[in-house]
Amino acid sequence: MKRLLQLLAVLILTSAWVMAQSGTGTGAGSSSGTNSSTGSMNGQTGNSNTGAPGTQGSNNGTSATPGQSTSGASSAGETGSSTSGNSGTAGTSTGAGTTTDTGTTNSAGGNANANGNAGANSNSKGGGEIALGTFLGLAALWEVSRRKKSAVRPF
């Protein structure tokens, strides 16, 4: 039981180490989402905005800012409600009160990931899974060896 507890403690430590290591991995992350909001039209006739580009969609799919009409009668989806999506950056208005934002954000992080490989020609001086495996293997062998040595052998 005691040995089991010790082994568990080792596992907890090593898993914390792995988690912390992956936390610092600054690899490439990507998020893509689609924001779509369909709102009721505000038929404000006479206010024509020609050529106004669509405004940016909202982040995290919370609420869509009203889109701007590109031509014709002004209309804005005032009461748009976002349905899904993460972050739409480039908003495009598609006419009458319907705003559809399709955003794809790709953020390339730093140079090295958790495994220490950043691109083609880079190595991390960190450890990685192989180091962890070596450590665990050696620790297990050591534990077994200690257990054998401490065992009382009958004559």
């Binding site: 290591q21 190595n123 450890g127 293997g137």
Partner: protein, 178 residues
């Protein structure tokens, strides 16, 4: 008549801990995990530079010429090597604090001891980085030269910590022994 050496007795005698000791040990491990996680909240830029500098100079003694690219990046034979938190052993030191902290000793003694441990780990880390570089320069594959050596280094530190932790349960205060 002198008794058997301490190391042998610790190996031959199964370690029997009381319930309180076991609880303390669990708390120590939990704190160690927390400490390791905390260490990764920071970037340790200065320590990265110091570690890379020590590694660079030790490698120079071994005839390996690393070229510094940035604060924490060096280049060797066209390949970039980046020093991250694990490369500085800062996580190992943080994790060792709860395990090595001697409750029977004053705080100032523990702080001094951990400072010595920090210096020792820094030197040990620079040495293991250079050993891995030397092996890699001798055409040993990177995984073996660096990653396996890293695992071996972690294991050696673990053995030292564990032995010391067991000793602290047997003789609580090194100050008494002194």
């Amino acid at each position: 008549m002198p008794g058997p050496p301490r190391q042998n007795s610790s190996l031959l005698t199964p370690c029997k801990r009381s319930g309180a000791e076991r609880r303390t040990l669990w708390i120590r491990f939990a704190l160690a995990a927390l400490a390791v996680a905390v260490s990764y909240l920071f970037r340790w830029e200065s320590l990265r530079f110091l570690s890379s500098e020590a590694n660079l100079r030790l490698d120079l003694l071994a005839g390996i010429h690393l070229q510094r690219i940035s604060n924490d990046t060096v280049m060797w034979k066209g390949v970039l090597y980046r020093y991250e938190n694990p490369c500085t052993f800062v996580d190992v030191w943080f994790g060792s604090v709860p395990l090595l902290w001697n409750l029977a000793c004053p705080v100032i003694w523990n702080i001094g001891f951990m400072a010595i441990v920090a210096m020792g780990m820094f030197c040990f880390n620079a040495l293991r980085l250079s050993v891995s570089d030397i092996l890699f320069a001798a055409q040993v594959p990177w995984n073996l030269a660096h990653n396996v050596i890293s695992g071996l280094s972690y294991f050696l530190v673990w053995v030292w910590i564990w032995t010391r932790l067991n000793d602290s349960y047997r003789s609580p205060s090194p100050l008494d022994a002194a």
